[in-house]
Subunit: 344 residues, 2 copies
């Protein structure tokens, strides 16, 4: 098993990726990591972080990619021109079977563009989608799409549902994942043009366990395993969740510090708050897979630390072992066969 | 000042509206409330709730509206056919100047349809919008639209911004409200087709203090006073906020009860949690005004209790006193004049 890791992706690169590589190599004895970036910058960090772990270092392949794609440039142009960047080099190696999966905490746009134009789409998928697992207090649900496609057609959302279904079956061992569609009302006739038409497609697909429309209030109430929406709405959901949790936790902290009795109470209740923090930390389950491309791609959160990157690598390993790409292909093929046989 | 109140609106009708009327009449000595619903049902509740408050009862006008519009019927059909309902009767009286404002905790769709078809739109407004005030930890921001219009054009969103601007100036005394556009990225070139085109319109409107795109993570971080989006996205934001706060509070409660030390801490910190609850309770500032119709209409939350309805009535009084409808008209006129003079 060989995972390609972008050494320059994320806010804490190259340190966080190098630390993530060390943790992952420690956990998986048959793992090889190809760590790519400008070696002049990456090598000293590797020497420092891997000090005393010479045996692990033997399974770390360093590749010099002197160009770095930043968040501040056009992703499509960057992917076209920066051929000596980790994102382009990694996607090409993934396409050619030289590595099994690709992990980056770098520019979301560049990972998307790299996946689309260098790696390529699975036949039958119009638009690859980003799909993080998010906590609902009890377990995790897959939010698809969370920002790859801001203008969507009903067929795209249908494909998101199919890919999400395959992901949850393969990665979370759920035999018939509940598929829900984000809508402004629970009833079938509710919604905007996009959701009304998507509802019909999802309901007609006999391979999916479609549980109907899901109002935003219910998203975190464990009513579906796969939550389908367009990338604009998904981006709002993902980021608003982060924002509201931050605001509420800040508010609670502020009020706890506002009087002595509450302050003592807050100190005593610290173990509870720590558990809440752990439960809401969705980097534990990895990053957001880019589903619909011809290979295993994980986009880790930009603010990932070493452990979050190790979790993303674990996720990439599981996607490879579970043969996720083939499962998605099968999902599409069987849906097509179904439609054809119904027509006959 | 005369406010029309739907006695059968909301989950706790008719008791909550009657209690809301009592509280409002107590607070405002020159207020008259027209309370409308099936009197056979409403009258006994009035007798019970107003017992010992005969003087206040003199300013309560009871109107018999034997028909009730429920959440389970088509709003447009209901407003067309149930002429003896409080929503239809109230909107017509508001249109004819017999009352100053209309308040209901009933069916959102019926209030919308009643506002559109019985009361009518302000000239220049294509689509009236629902706009609740929501907490951001520090103060409140106006979210417009939160569900009246799920399929929008850029001009609608521009009008939402203009109406939100007039509302925050009039009702919250903010001279130049910061107007933000919900988007999946902060940069001007980011977004879906709708937000990209809306961005141009908002930036070109010299009467607005447009602060640019607002990512969902920032919505509750006090970066704008008016948050503009289409009704589908606004509905997701409004309801997701409720859902996430519920889920997180449940999670915290669960973890606090999970060990003895935390449990004692939680008991001691109760005053802090109470303050947080009060700060996040947005019914204190009233309901969601329906902006863009030719009259003051407030849609209170379906789960409103008596106090929440009294707050919605206070809001309706303030909208009337502040001459909000005229302010919105002025905002539109001056924007048009501006455009014409620029062309000259």
């Amino acid at each position: 098993m060989k995972i390609y890791l972008d050494a320059m992706g994320g806010d804490f690169a190259p340190k966080a990726p190098v630390e993530g590589a060390l943790e992952a190599l420690t956990n998986y004895s048959d793992l090889i990591i190809e760590l790519a970036g400008p070696l002049a910058e990456v090598q000293p960090v590797v020497e420092e972080v891997f000090q005393g772990n010479e045996a692990l270092k033997e399974r770390l392949v360093l590749t010099d990619c002197p160009e770095v794609i930043t968040n501040c440039e056009s992703p499509v142009m960057a992917v076209r021109h920066k051929k000596q960047s980790a994102i382009v080099d990694g996607m090409l190696k993934l396409r050619d079977g030289q590595v099994d999966a690709f992990v980056s905490a770098g520019s979301t746009g560049a990972v998307l563009a790299g996946g689309m134009f260098r790696l390529g789409r699975i036949p039958g998928i119009d638009r690859p989608a980003l799909a993080p697992l998010l906590p609902n207090g009890k377990d995790f649900f897959l939010l698809i799409d969370c920002g790859a496609n801001v203008d969507c057609k009903p067929e795209y959302l249908h494909q998101f549902a199919q890919m999400g279904n395959a992901y949850m079956q393969t990665m979370r061992n759920i035999a018939t994942p509940r598929i829900g569609l984000v809508n402004n009302g629970a009833e079938a006739e509710k919604g905007c043009t996009l959701t009304k038409e998507t509802f019909q497609l999802l309901q007609a697909d006999g391979k999916l366990n479609f549980v109907g429309n899901v109002e935003a209030r219910e998203i975190t109430h464990d009513v579906a395993d796969v939550i389908v929406c367009d990338g604009f709405v998904g981006n709002v959901i993902l980021k608003f969740m982060e924002g509201v949790v931050e605001t509420l936790m800040d508010m609670i902290k502020g009020e706890i510090y506002a009087d002595t009795r509450s302050k003592i109470g807050g100190l005593l209740a610290k173990p509870a708050f720590k558990r809440v923090k752990k439960k809401t930390d969705y980097t534990e389950v990895g990053g957001a897979p880019l589903l619909g491309v011809r290979g295993n791609v994980v986009k880790a959160h930009g603010s990932s630390n070493g452990h979050a990157l190790a979790c993303a690598i674990r996720q990439a390993i599981q996607m490879t072992e579970g043969e996720l790409v083939r499962k998605i292909e099968n999902q599409l093929v069987s849906a097509e066969t179904e439609t054809v046989s119904e027509q006959i």
